[in-house]
């Protein structure tokens, strides 16, 4: 009988009130290699099932106490999700009785007189079905478990990442943004931080890929962004570091499209670098004009150190102007007809806007009207140019005790020729000046003044750039073009920085002298210009006066001297 033997023995419940048939069927099933349980009525069948959980049930339709239909219903309910096939034992020939069997949960029929070969085939088929269902359930549970793990991992990763990402200033009143809470796992990244000079850095990035791989690169990128911004580095150094780091850690097919902004509220300029992101926009609230901020570079993490270009574009800003950055999810938002939102629709929103303060809402509303619901890979950010005093950068938290603060020293740093092209001394000077605890409460003013003095010495002094050029937008562009050309050809010249810290009573005083090799200028004439005459230029000297305790220029205009004082520390 090996032909009929089952591959794996099952426990089979046989319920029939007819003792002869029960006995015969038990023998047949047992000979086929299975274990047999028996019941002589429907109720007993349900009880035996509940207690012994057989894998297959052979059930006579007509039985006393509880008939086969009701017994089948109860057994199916007890079985729950797992499939326990029920084969009705019957010679029922009427259609409605067969329908009742199926409705009660029957999976097959076996007619009397019993045929061993057919019974064996049916048991085999039912067993296959049962195993299939068990596999499906097992896999479903496995998927549910894995999904649970995945969600938990994402939660943890997001929590850790949020600690890093939210150390920034996205909550600043001049920033509006829209981003899915799980944007990180779409590879979208939005960062913003105050610079020590009172400006602001903003990054909108988009990693290739989705899920954890896309999120992995975000962490080091955010670390570099925040760390270097806080230390006073400029976009060029930050971009170089980000590119080199991503190039090193990411696989070849992974990189990060990004737009970086460096807003200087005092000088009213924004520096832009766009590598592979959709056009951002500078929206001029006065004229309603929208200037595209185009991608001029390959994404971060693609090029080697040697071929990477950190060249930025500089735009002048007026208070109320808005910078608008977006991910490709915005442009690629599709409606029900598979049409894409597209650049034209976006630019149309800019054109139709009459109230700049509603610009962000207008874009959101246009997206909503187009698609109905927002996708989870849509990231947008709007940064408004405001007056320098309007924002309050958070106080820096220092970890040292102040006991080792050096209070009596001086230092001269002279940067010459080639070095002026590519070396930015400000972060190093900042680190040194941070050690003067008495000045920490005015660090914003100090760093702004220092950066202003250095820029003046380099641009107007060494490079001989005419600040009156910046009077209008065209001249503004010309100014930065000349700056870049002249810097490239620079061979001679110097900027000399002299720092002196002296104790004074229970406080102290810092004196900074900055001298350059340029032609100099007439400080009296520059100071006496009216604001109208100045236009976009010359704001620097007044700012320096305003922020420092004392500021003076030599008669030839080639050196400046500023002072910052502090009293006894609380």
């Amino acid at each position: 009988m090996s032909m009929l033997a089952a591959s794996e023995p099952l426990t089979v419940l046989i319920a029939d009130d007819n003792m002869t048939d029960r006995m015969l069927l038990s023998s047949i099933v047992r000979r086929q290699g299975h274990r047999v349980l028996t019941a002589s009525d429907g109720q007993e069948a349900v009880d035996v099932f509940a207690e012994r959980r057989p894998q297959l049930v052979l059930l006579d339709a007509m039985m006393p106490v509880l008939d086969g239909f009701e017994a089948a219903r109860q057994i199916k309910e007890l079985a729950g999700e797992s499939l326990v096939p029920i084969i009705f034992l019957t010679s029922l020939t009427e259609e409605d009785a067969l329908v009742r069997c199926l409705e009660a949960g029957g999976d097959d029929f076996l007619a009397k007189p019993y045929n061993q070969v057919i019974l064996a085939a049916k048991i085999k088929a039912m067993d296959r079905m049962r195993r299939l269902q068990a596999t499906v359930l097992e896999q479903r549970d496995q998927i549910t478990r894995h999904h649970g793990y995945l969600l938990n991992e994402q939660r943890v990763a997001k929590a850790v990442f949020d600690q890093v990402a939210h150390s920034g200033c996205l909550s600043s009143p001049n920033i509006r943004y829209m981003q899915s809470p799980y944007a990180l796992f779409n590879g979208d990244l939005l960062l913003a931080a105050f610079t020590p000079y009172g400006g602001m850095h903003v990054l909108l990035g988009d990693f290739t890929g989705h899920g954890l791989p896309a999120a992995v690169g975000a962490m080091p990128l955010a670390e570099v962004f925040y760390g270097m911004t806080a230390k006073g580095y400029g976009l060029a150094e930050i971009l170089r570091e980000m590119n080199a780091k991503l190039k090193r850690i990411l696989p070849v097919d992974m990189f990060c499209c990004a737009t970086l902004l460096n807003l200087n509220f005092q000088r009213r300029v924004v520096e832009v670098w766009n590598g592979g992101m959709p056009d951002g926009y500078l929206y001029r609230s006065e004229s309603g004009e929208h200037v595209p901020l185009r991608s001029r570079h390959l994404p971060l993490g693609v090029l080697s150190r040697a071929s990477f270009q950190e060249k930025t574009e500089v735009f002048s800003l007026a208070p109320g102007d808005r910078l608008f950055l977006l991910s490709d999810g915005v442009i690629e938002t599709a409606n029900d007809d598979e049409d894409l939102f597209g650049v034209e629709r976006l630019e149309r929103v800019f054109e139709l806007n009459r109230d700049p303060t509603r610009l962000f809402e207008d874009v959101q509303a246009a997206l909503g009207a187009f698609h109905g619901e927002s996708r989870d890979d849509v990231s947008m950010v709007q940064v408004e140019m405001v007056e320098p005093g309007e924002l309050e950068p958070p106080a820096t938290v220092y970890s040292d005790s102040g006991a080792s603060s050096p209070l009596n020293w001086s230092m001269t740093l002279e940067l010459r020729g080639d070095t002026l092209k590519r070396f930015n001394p400000l972060p190093y000077l900042l680190q040194l000046l941070q050690e003067i605890h008495g000045l920490r409460s005015q660090s914003g003013a100090l760093y702004s003044v220092l950066s202003e003095l250095y820029s003046n010495a380099l641009e107007h002094g060494v490079l001989g750039l005419d600040s009156t050029l910046k009077r209008d937008a065209e001249g503004f562009a010309q100014y930065y073009e000349q700056r870049s050309t002249r810097l490239n050809h620079l061979k001679d010249g110097y900027v000399r920085l002299h720092f002196m810290v002296q104790p004074e009573g229970r406080g102290g005083r810092l004196t900074i002298d900055v001298e350059d090799s340029g032609q100099g200028f007439d400080p009296h004439q520059v100071m006496s210009r009216s604001p109208e005459e100045e236009g976009l230029s010359g704001r620097g000297l007044k700012l320096i006066r305003q922020l420092s305790d004392k500021a003076q220029w030599s008669e030839d205009g080639r050196s400046a001297s500023v002072e910052f004082s502090w009293g006894a520390l609380a």
């Binding site: 009130d17 007819n18 003792m19 002869t20 048939d21 006995m23 015969l24 023998s27 047949i28 000979r31 007509m62 010679s91 009397k112 007189p113 019993y114 061993q116």
Partner: protein, 114 residues
């Protein structure tokens, strides 16, 4: 080997399946059938009669009592279509047929009574 009452091919198949329990199966069928016959006689409503006939048909067919199964099937069908005035006759024919096969099963039983 067959006659109009019993299918002996079925009996030999049963013997193979049941092995040592074959005589016990025969005994069980005979006593079980006696119970079914009593039910047929005592049944007061057509539904009970039909159920008893259905059950008896099932075991008879399994035991190779071809003609008896056929008569039971006739009775099962007949009770669905009143009036039932000639039902008595059909029950009597089942009685007679069972008496006939009982004798044949007893003979079969004797072969194993060593």
């Amino acid at each position: 080997m067959s006659n109009q009452h019993l299918d002996y091919d079925v009996l030999s198949a049963l013997q193979e399946v049941m092995e040592d329990d074959y005589p016990l199966l025969l005994d069980t069928f005979l006593s079980d059938s006696q119970v079914r016959l009593n039910e047929l006689h005592k049944a007061t409503d057509p539904q009970k009669l039909g159920q008893a006939a259905h059950s008896f048909k099932g075991s008879s067919s399994n035991m190779g009592a071809t003609h008896l199964a056929h008569l039971c099937h006739q009775l099962e069908e007949r009770v669905k279509h009143p009036p039932l005035n000639d039902i008595e006759d059909l029950v009597n024919r089942i009685d007679n047929e069972f008496a006939e096969v009982r004798r044949l099963y007893d003979d079969e039983r004797q072969r194993f009574a060593y």
